[in-house]
Amino acid sequence: MTKVVAVTGNEAVANAFRQIEPDVCAAYPITPQTELMQRFAAFVSNGQVKTEMILVESEHSAMSACVGAAAAGGRVATATSSQGLALMWEILFIASGLRLPIVMPVVNRALSAPINIHCDHSDAMGARDSGWIQLWSENAQEAYDNTIQAFRIAEHMDIRLPVMVCYDGFIISHSIERIEYLDDEVVKKFVGEYKPLYPLLDVDNPKSYGPLILTDLYHEVRKAHSEVYKKVPKVVVDVAKEFKKISGRSYGLFESYRLDDAEIGIVILNSAAGTTKDVIDEYRERGIKVGLLKPRLFRPFPYEEVGNALKNLKAVCVLDRADAFGGSFGPLYLDIAASLCNFKEKPVLINRIYGLGGRDYMPEHAQGVIDELIEIAKTGKVKVLKEYIGVRE
């Protein structure tokens, strides 16, 4: 029996944590993640979960403690945002390099300077090459569902990799939405018993974690590591299939919205996809064949599948909620462009940067982009390849 509630995104994810009941949770507060950890700490204080909390002195230590706890041999979770994720950066690579299945919701927020507590994706994009699997979520329901699936994905014996669950700060984390909760027992059964692999606490069979690997083998170790990522998409899809059985909700590598017969399309992550879908519906009513692709598994990036889904379109706009300063285009654009570059026939691509530091993404922004795509599809001409939209003049 599912339970329908009205809660914030953070509350929904805290509830997922309660249902999953990780053995250890190390965390440091940072806006807009704070509410999630406060709520979870209350579950711990009230004895609703048996999780041991480590209330560390920094995010660097939070991730360090998670590495130690996961290596010790149990289920581990933390959560962060923005500067906190940036402070963890060094240890993110160690967590994935040691193949530790840590799960971490990242409540997306802009990076300093200037300091800004509101949503954009510069934090998670900064960590995109750290070897963490990244799942992105459009709304509180998806953040909740992705968090539950993340443990199964991370702990899968074929991959054993850490997973980030990204959802938009304030827009999702602090807005109240309608959520369908699964039953505690259903979630517990779905996630299952944790299976330790080479636990440090098995003192009769000592293991050494974190050796020095020099030039004779480092290259080979990294090649082996990169091979593991090829197995991730299948695991993500398999876990989603099982999740559908308990929830009725379908997930894939990405969501295609009215994309099958589309001539023009928008690629966009997280909450802004919702607004875009509404605008797409309006244009569809007017007979304009527009669709949307919303990546869910952003790392490792399923470039073959994404490329195939977009190759037949005439024009596509990739909307990035983060810029790559000094680089050519936004981070999402680069992956989309790379996914398409080897097809003979491919759409014309443009890149728009939107919503930095919590700037609202309004229906008129989506309208402006679609109008421009209609024009590009007609003429084949692009006025500006990359541009910020929604900027105050």
Partner: protein
């Protein structure tokens, strides 16, 4: 029944840090590690190391010198990493998944302890994790080639504060980390030296028997960095103790006790002249600098004795 800490009994115990590691000949660190693990011989232990000489030399590719579970995470986070291991231990013990009584030991150099790792160490102690943190203090960043650290003593010659015509080595005094750790109010803090091995091993044993956070700072000569002979580590350690450059003491539940008082306190020149890193202090005209070092040592030693006396008189009056 605990294994007595004497040579006869200890010699029957298996060494849990093997030979064949790649530390420099004459390095005191493996000696210190062997002493710690021997003192802990009655318990299963899990060890965490910070990045440093000991770490890079003891676990390379598929070879490891550690016969106990061991984890290396990064340079500045041995304490935080072990916090995680120890917390998972408590979580699994509570759930009945583990029944063994395991001890947790972090072993890091002075860089990973006094400096970059200090936040992580301080946090772990404040959170009261049940672990022993051992700093093997070789008084500089030896792994990267003898750069000054917060533990480098005044006027020592290092590659980032070289003794030159204007600046005579490290201008600042060393950070007194042992006292800073005692100020955390944790149950046990001590200073030890491999030259006085029964004292060192007793301290480790005592620390492991106490529940909660413990810290031991161990003097660990580095012949490469200190410009001494390869067989000098123990000799130099003894001189450090006998000159009171490195006093042996402990602070147990806030009570300071000096565990070794030299019959005759040797002048610090004996410690300094044995090492190339202080060679420049023996050039003509530099006498004042040695006198300054001597003065610092005397002041600290007297202060330590007074601190001990203060607690002793309190105990008597009770």
């Amino acid at each position: 029944m605990a294994t007595p800490l004497n040579l006869k009994e200890l010699s029957k115990k298996e060494l849990r840090f093997t030979s064949g590691h790649r530390l420099c000949a004459g390095c005191a660190a493996p000696t210190v590690v062997k002493m710690i693990l021997l003192a802990a011989c009655d318990w299963p232990v899990v060890v965490a190391s910070a990045t440093g000489c000991l770490e890079v030399s003891s676990c390379i590719s598929t070879y490891t010198a550690w016969k106990v579970p061991w984890i290396h995470n990064a340079f500045e986070n041995a304490a935080a990493t072990l916090s995680g291991v120890e917390t998972m231990y408590r979580a699994l013990k509570k759930q009945g998944k583990i029944d063994k009584d395991i001890k947790f030991i972090a072993i890091s150099g002075d860089g990973g302890t006094y400096d970059i790792g200090f936040q992580s160490l301080s946090g772990a102690m404040e959170r009261w994790h049940d672990m022993l943190y051992v700093c093997y203090d070789n008084e500089a960043y030896m792994n990267t080639g003898i750069q000054r650290s917060g533990a480098t003593p005044t006027y020592a010659d290092t590659t980032t504060c070289p003794a030159g015509a204007v600046i005579p080595g490290k201008p600042q005094q060393r950070k007194d980390l042992t006292k800073i750790m005692a100020a955390h109010g944790i149950p046990y803090v001590a200073q030890a030296s491999p030259s006085h091995w029964p004292d060192l091993m007793k301290k480790v044993r005592k620390a492991l028997e106490i529940e909660g956070p413990k810290f031991i700072n161990v003097f660990t000569p580095c012949n490469r960095g200190w410009r001494t002979r390869t067989d000098d580590a123990i000799l130099i350690s003894r001189l450090a103790v006998e000159t009171c450059f490195w006093p042996l003491y402990e602070v147990e539940n806030g009570v300071t006790k000096v565990t070794f008082k030299p019959r005759e306190k040797k002048p610090v020149v004996e410690f300094l002249k044995a090492q190339g890193r202080f060679k420049h202090l023996f050039e003509p005209g530099k006498e004042k600098l040695i006198a300054e070092i001597q003065e610092m040592i005397d002041k600290n030693w007297e202060r330590l004795l007074k601190e001990e006396e203060m607690f002793a008189s309190k105990e008597e009056s009770q």
